[in-house]
């Protein structure tokens, strides 16, 4: 192997690693706040990517309709819970956020899809649609189970993943799609060629990580999210609703997922089920970070990306095997370092 190939593989690995880092951070965030291991994180990636690609090619994405349907479901849950108190203001807020908003977005999507909108509009619509799906998903599938054990939440998570993947097949078909580059063009530095798209990936990843860091460190809602992750009862006693924290976590996770999808769909062809594997690689990074450490997760994600790039060069058939095998020594080390624990009690 010469230096050029090595640099090329490194660059490729870092680009993928940046995406895994974002997904890993979202997984850690959601787990810390809600104790949900978010398997459907990968579906947020696919939905974001394919909604974007569909819109860009002038097709109507089914996800916009799904958002409205899930919104109606979420609203029904709200009304059912509030049936005995029936506060006018709460009902109005629920109808606005769960039905009126997705209905407006659906109308906009139908309007724009017919006329091949510009890239910025495609991105904005895709992000909003997937963000709404994430939010309503929490309301429908996880908020009612919030008090149950991690195992129950994990099973629900697997169920949601399978359902969303099936719907993905229905909406986007079995064919793969590619989207237009967010930033076209390229330049060369020495023997390395940087495409506008890979620079976009770096830029957005860094901006997002800095943004998250500021959000958690400086804003009241960010601190409330951290507080919920550290001590749920303490947070509730301070008046912080765990449902609010859960909603923010899911909103962030779905936006991060969709954004990752939009960033990779111009580089790789994505299928309705590609997100799962991409999400799992973020999961490997999150596990290395012990599902608690954000910096460790980000570093591990870059490592996963680089290992993947090199193994696809040397042994492309075993690429996935090598990446997922990384988990075994990490888990072994962690199990040696941590004291044995009984079945979780909560």
């Amino acid at each position: 192997m010469n230096t050029t190939i090595m640099l090329f593989l490194l660059q490729d690995g870092i680009t993928n690693g940046a995406i895994y880092a974002l997904l890993g951070l979202a997984l850690v965030l959601v787990f810390a706040v809600t104790r949900v291991i978010l398997i459907p994180q990968g579906e947020f990636v696919t939905y974001g990517a394919l909604t974007y690609a569909s819109l860009a090619s002038g097709q109507m994405p089914g996800t916009a309709k799904l958002a409205l349907a899930m919104g109606i479901g979420a609203c029904a849950f709200d009304l059912f819970v509030a049936r005995k108190t029936l506060h006018g203001r709460l009902i109005l807020r629920s109808v606005l956020a769960n039905i009126v908003l997705p209905a407006i977005v659906l109308a906009l999507t139908i309007y724009f899809a017919a006329q091949k909108p510009p890239v910025a509009v495609c991105i904005a619509l895709s992000l909003v649609i997937v963000a709404m799906i994430g939010l309503y998903l929490y309301r429908i599938a996880f908020q009612p189970l919030a008090h149950t054990s991690v195992l129950v939440l994990l099973i629900a998570s697997v169920g949601v993943h399978l359902a969303l993947q099936g719907l993905g097949l229905l909406f986007f078909g079995a064919e793969g799609q590619r989207g237009p580059a967010v930033l076209s063009g390229a330049f060369t530095a020495g023997s390395l060629r940087f495409t506008g798209q890979s620079l976009t990936v770096y830029g957005i990843t860094i901006a997002f990580i800095v943004g998250l860091w500021l959000f958690f460190g400086l804003t009241l809602y960010g601190k409330a999210l951290r507080a919920t992750a550290v001590n749920r009862l303490g947070a509730r006693l301070a008046g912080i609703r765990t449902t609010l924290s859960g909603q923010i976590a899911f909103l962030l996770a779905s936006v991060i997922g969709a954004l990752s999808g939009i960033m990779i769909v111009p580089i790789t062809t994505l299928y309705y089920d590609s997100g799962f594997l991409i999400g799992l690689k973020g999961f490997v990074a999150a596990i290395v970070g012990g599902l608690v450490s954000y910096p460790l997760t980000a570093v591990a994600a870059l490592f996963v990306g680089i290992v993947e790039a090199f193994s696809s060069f040397y042994a492309s058939n075993y690429k996935e095997v090598i990446v997922f095998m990384l988990l075994i020594p990490v888990l072994l080390l962690r199990s040696l370092a941590a004291p044995a624990v009984e079945e979780e009690k909560d």
Binding site: N231, R236, L237, I240
Partner: protein
């Protein structure tokens, strides 16, 4: 005068085991009320149920409103605060962040004023405001837990064993602050195993045994009661052997 908090015929059960049976209690405005009793009498369970952490059968009214359908966060917003026995601090966050989050439901401008009030009440917290809550001493953590609850501007603060495991000098400080709270218009419902100290500062007292109130009245009368003195001494003995 109607009571700020009134609990009528409350039952709290863990599965089939009733930990609190048919309990009634009232806390008026500007009043310190204490519940004394041995370990396992059901005091902590009762406070948790009033706060909405555990389900309660019976009626709990706060400031004239039935709390049955309200969850913990709504009760906090109404002005009911609890400092639990285990304090439940955000240990990986600093003192100031802990306090700021205590005022999550309060307007930002008022929260700024409250934080200064808390610092006046607990000057130690101001010195340690950038320190992580988990690295504070036991006494400082108790102060922080009380400070965080006060940030929510409660009308009634429920304190669960605030002196547990603290050095005598800090305990005296905590009890002095509890009386200051009453003077500033905050009512206090105090659960304490240090019955002597609690009865000294309280206006009213309830004695709890095996999930039931066996005695209630003015704190000074309760303190003078022979049976209380006897069981209190008995408890002291148990407590000592438990250590």
């Amino acid at each position: 005068m109607s009571a700020l908090l009134s609990v009528t015929d409350a039952h709290v059960a863990y599965g089939k085991v009733e930990a609190v049976r048919s309990v009634g209690l009232e806390v008026g405005e500007n009043e310190i009320v204490t519940i004394v009793g041995a370990n396992g009498a059901g005091k902590t369970t009762l406070l948790s149920a009033i706060m909405g952490i555990l389900p309660l059968k019976g009626r709990v009214a706060f400031a004239g409103q039935d709390l049955a359908r309200l969850d913990i966060e709504d009760r906090v917003a109404m002005g009911l605060g609890l400092v639990p026995e285990h304090r439940e601090l955000f240990v990986t966050m600093n003192v100031e962040d802990n306090l700021e989050l205590g005022a999550f439901r309060i307007e930002r401008s008022r929260a700024k004023a409250s934080i200064e009030q808390v610092y006046t009440l607990f000057p130690r917290l101001k010195e340690r405001r950038k320190q992580l809550a988990g690295t504070l001493s036991g006494g400082e953590q108790q102060m922080l837990a009380m400070g965080r609850a006060l940030m929510g501007a409660p009308k009634l603060l429920m304190l669960d064993e605030p002196s547990l495991g603290l050095a005598p000098i800090i305990v005296a400080d905590i009890f002095r602050i509890i009386t200051e709270l009453r003077a500033s218009g905050v009512s206090v419902l105090l659960v304490e195993q240090n019955a002597q100290a609690a009865l000294k500062i309280a206006d009213h007292a309830y004695v709890m045994e095996l999930g039931e109130f066996v005695l209630s009245g003015k704190a000074s009368d309760i303190a003078a009661n022979e049976r209380v003195a006897a069981s209190y001494l008995g408890f002291q003995h148990e407590g000592a052997s438990a250590l």
